[in-house]
């Protein structure tokens, strides 16, 4: 056992860090102040994505035939961490979750147009899974796709929490294609819906943290070439990437960076009684609790990335990481915000905001993850079943 990076991995870390420090421009930071563009989509975001594509970063973990560097999951994890720490709204789900599925299951047109577009930094894809009545129980989705006599599909339904759909080029839509399937998940197919299709529309949902969307598919006619994978076999395409997706939700880097920033802030600031904050026992205690949790998170993430490379990642491990990481985030934001105190609640760009109001924003966004990406109670059921062999109830 040896839990340290190799020299090559450390070199990659430096390479990405240096690259991102130059890539992340003031224009980009300015653009992200607009809530519409906090998660990307503005002109500077588009420009920088193309640059990252041209410089070969998007294809980092991709096979050579796509011009990739065939990075291992650990190297990809290092990349993800540095990109997240830089604060760039990189569309990981497009490049790491959907992209590889399209490369594996898409037809030549999809590969040429969409996959190449992703790698060139010109395509962003939103995920259309959840519906108003199908959240954690995704297989109960009702959006319907019916094949017409001419082979085209007619899609009708509504999706919710379709993040990035307000600027995405495509929506990756799960739709029911067999109403009578023996089991609900056996009647689902996957489609790539171009966002400029006249049957597609969206409205904004403003959450506590970020903007997301409700998306509508009204008599949306789609040529069969936009279907990905076999008819009624869509479920496998959804679940195939879930473990990888769960890992990308709980990256250690951004919270570690916040921890450092808060510790530095506590070293440089005094409380109202004139005492150095870092000298207060409770401040040290909060930092120690965050550091203790961070250490476990870092190791969980690295072990999963390693296990992914070895092909030994289990469901229960992926679920454990998701539950632990997301609940730790919530706790860490609280502990760190306690150190900043009342002034920590001043919003970014308001006079007197501390650490650019980052924690004020993070705690609002943080609550999404415990139920998003697979609700934590369901993850715990997976752990009890797959990890501890306990029988499931109803």
């Amino acid at each position: 056992m040896n839990i340290t990076f190799t020299h090559e991995q450390m070199a990659l870390q430096r390479e990405v860090r240096d690259y991102m420090s130059i890539l992340m421009t003031d224009t980009m930071r300015e653009e992200m102040k607009d809530p519409e563009h906090f998660e990307g989509g503005g002109p500077e975001f588009r420009r920088l994505m193309k640059k990252m594509g041209k410089d070969g970063w998007i294809a980092l973990s991709w096979p050579k035939e796509y011009g990739g560097r065939e990075a291992t999951p650990i190297e990809q994890y290092i990349f993800t961490e540095e990109v997240m720490k830089a604060g760039f709204p990189y569309p990981f789900l497009t490049t790491e979750a959907i992209g590889p599925v399209l490369a594996d299951h898409g037809n030549e047109m999809v590969k040429k147009k969409v996959v190449q577009g992703i790698l060139d930094g010109e395509v962003v894809i939103a995920i259309g899974y959840s519906e108003p009545d199908a959240g954690t129980d995704l297989a109960s989705l009702k959006t319907r796709a019916t094949q017409q006599a001419n082979g085209n599909w007619l899609i009708n339904g509504q999706k919710i929490w379709t993040s990035l759909a307000n600027f995405s080029d495509y929506i990756w839509v799960a739709a029911r294609t067999d109403q009578d399937a023996a089991k609900p998940h056996k009647g689902i197919s996957m489609f790539l819906v171009p966002a400029d299709n006249p049957g597609f529309s969206h409205t904004a949902i403003h959450t506590l943290g970020v903007r997301t969307n409700a998306t509508y598919y009204q008599d949306l006619e789609l040529s069969d070439e936009w279907r990905v994978g076999e008819i009624n076999k869509g479920w496998g395409l959804i679940t195939g990437q879930l473990n990888r997706e769960r890992l990308s939700l709980v990256n250690h880097g951004p919270v570690y960076q916040l921890y450092q920033e808060v510790a530095e802030w506590a070293a440089a600031n005094k409380n109202s009684g004139g005492e150095q904050l870092l000298n207060k026992a409770w401040v040290r205690g909060n930092l120690a609790k965050v550091k203790t949790g961070l250490q476990a998170l870092r190791l969980i993430c690295l072990k999963q990335a390693w296990a992914m490379g070895e092909g030994t990642l289990t469901m229960e491990q992926a679920s454990a990481a998701k539950v632990y990481g997301t609940e730790f985030f919530v706790e860490a934001y609280r502990l760190l915000l306690e150190i900043l105190g009342h002034n920590g609640l001043i919003q970014a760009d308001s006079p007197g905001a501390i650490l650019k109001g980052k924690l004020e924003h993070r705690y609002r966004v943080g609550s999404i993850l415990t139920f998003g990406g697979g609700c934590n109670e369901v993850q715990r059921e997976i752990i009890a079943g797959a990890g501890l062999w306990m029988p499931r109830g109803r």
């Binding site: 056992m1 026992a281 930092l287 203790t292 969980i300 296990a307 109670e377 715990r380 009890a384 306990m390």
Partner: protein, 375 residues
């Protein structure tokens, strides 16, 4: 980066599992418990004969010459069975500092017999400064004071201790000679029935060659031995907690109430899943600490090691407590019945939780380390 164990290590794990399953199973442990003292000499001899007591002892002294990480695999398995043997005290807290800091004569005298199970050496290395040492003009030493909770002293031939002196800290080996008029042992019973003793030393003479380290070296030796001991305790806690959780999952899967297995109640499954996540955190933080302690060649990353060990100790205290309580609770009445093996795990968990620093004191220590880093 590699999270797997090599072949030799996996063999150690398997061998330990085989011996413990034969000689530390529930039936045998009931006999040991009935004896009133949790030490099983036959099991200890079996471990010696299989070579496992010498895992981390140099081959020149008859050991296998593997590293600390390999030794911790034996310790983790000992935890999985709450094996009634002084694995940590003897093989980690005593043997490792002797091997690294003692003179050749002491190494010659003790390491071989430790590896072949003929001699048991124990250790007490907490920073309580309750022993005082004075050096004579002839170079020998006189020790005064008393300490508590010396594990397995009644079975040990010697105990490794620290004492304060005018020259600073000294680490010394005190032979536990029954006829000595200046040394008295008073037996104590720990919560887990581990044989403990109070050790009283009155003007007790120690030969100069029994001084293992003094001055700066002594502080270094004590800190290092404490870190190894904490990491080994964390490894033991990992095996122990994991087994508690597995027992709980198995028991609730067959125990029926309201016409169905208790495990099918969501609240039960959720609480067990929390235990699974807890143990994963403890295991990984422990592996990190052990890996750093095993592979560091110099002191260049000392602060990283300090931090990793302290963090592992925090997890150890928290998880020992949480898993012990949730396992008892999910078992219901049988979990506290002394006829059912879980009780041994829970008692041992409490002991690991408080040995060499609780979670709370370790958190304070970590907070101070962080403050020093950012100040």
């Amino acid at each position: 980066m590699n999270f797997s164990y090599d072949e030799n290590q996996l063999e150690i794990k398997q061998l330990a599992d085989k011996i413990f399953s034969e000689l530390a199973n529930d039936e045998r442990q009931k006999l040991v418990d009935a004896s009133g003292s949790r030490f099983d000499p036959e099991l200890w001899q079996q471990l010696a004969e299989s070579g496992l007591l010498g895992i981390a002892i140099d081959d020149s002294y008859g050991g296998m010459g593997f590293n600390f990480e390999s030794l911790c695999l034996l310790i983790e398995e000992a935890g999985r069975y709450v094996a009634p043997v002084p694995a940590i005290h003897n093989l980690v807290s005593a043997a490792m500092p002797i091997q690294r800091y003692a003179n050749d004569a002491i190494k010659e005298q003790y390491l071989g017999p430790i590896a072949n199970g003929k001699t048991l050496v124990t250790a007490t290395l907490a920073n309580d400064n309750s022993l005082n040492a004075i050096q004579n003009s002839n170079g020998d030493w006189i020790i005064d004071g008393h300490i508590s909770c010396v594990p397995y002293a009644v079975y040990a031939q010697a105990v490794l201790l620290s004492a304060t002196s005018e020259q600073g800290l000294v680490i010394l080996l005190v032979e536990l000679n029954a006829d000595s008029k200046t040394l008295t042992l008073v037996e104590q019973q720990s919560t887990a029935c581990e044989p403990w003793s109070q050790l009283h030393l009155q003007q007790h003479p120690i030969a100069a060659e029994n001084i293992i380290a003094s001055g700066d070296k002594a502080a270094e030796c004590q800190a290092w031995a404490q870190q190894l001991t904490i990491a080994a305790q964390c490894a033991m806690a990992t095996g122990l907690s994991d087994k508690m959780l597995r027992m709980t999952a198995a028991y609730t899967s067959q125990r029926e109430q309201f016409g169905r297995p208790v495990a099918t109640f969501q609240a039960v499954g959720q609480r067990a899943a929390d235990g699974f996540i807890d143990i994963e955190c403890l295991r990984l933080c422990t592996q990190e600490a052990i890996s750093l302690l095993s592979h560091s060649v110099d002191n260049s990353n000392q602060s990283v090691i300090n931090e990793a060990v302290t963090i592992a100790n925090i997890w150890c205290g928290d998880i020992c407590h949480r898993l012990s309580q949730s396992s008892q609770h999910l078992h219901g009445g049988i979990g506290v019945d002394r006829d059912y093996p879980l009780h041994r795990y829970c008692l041992w968990a409490k002991q690991l939780e408080l040995s060499l620093g609780s979670s709370a004191s370790s958190l304070e220590q970590l907070g101070d380390q962080i403050a020093a880093e950012f100040a």
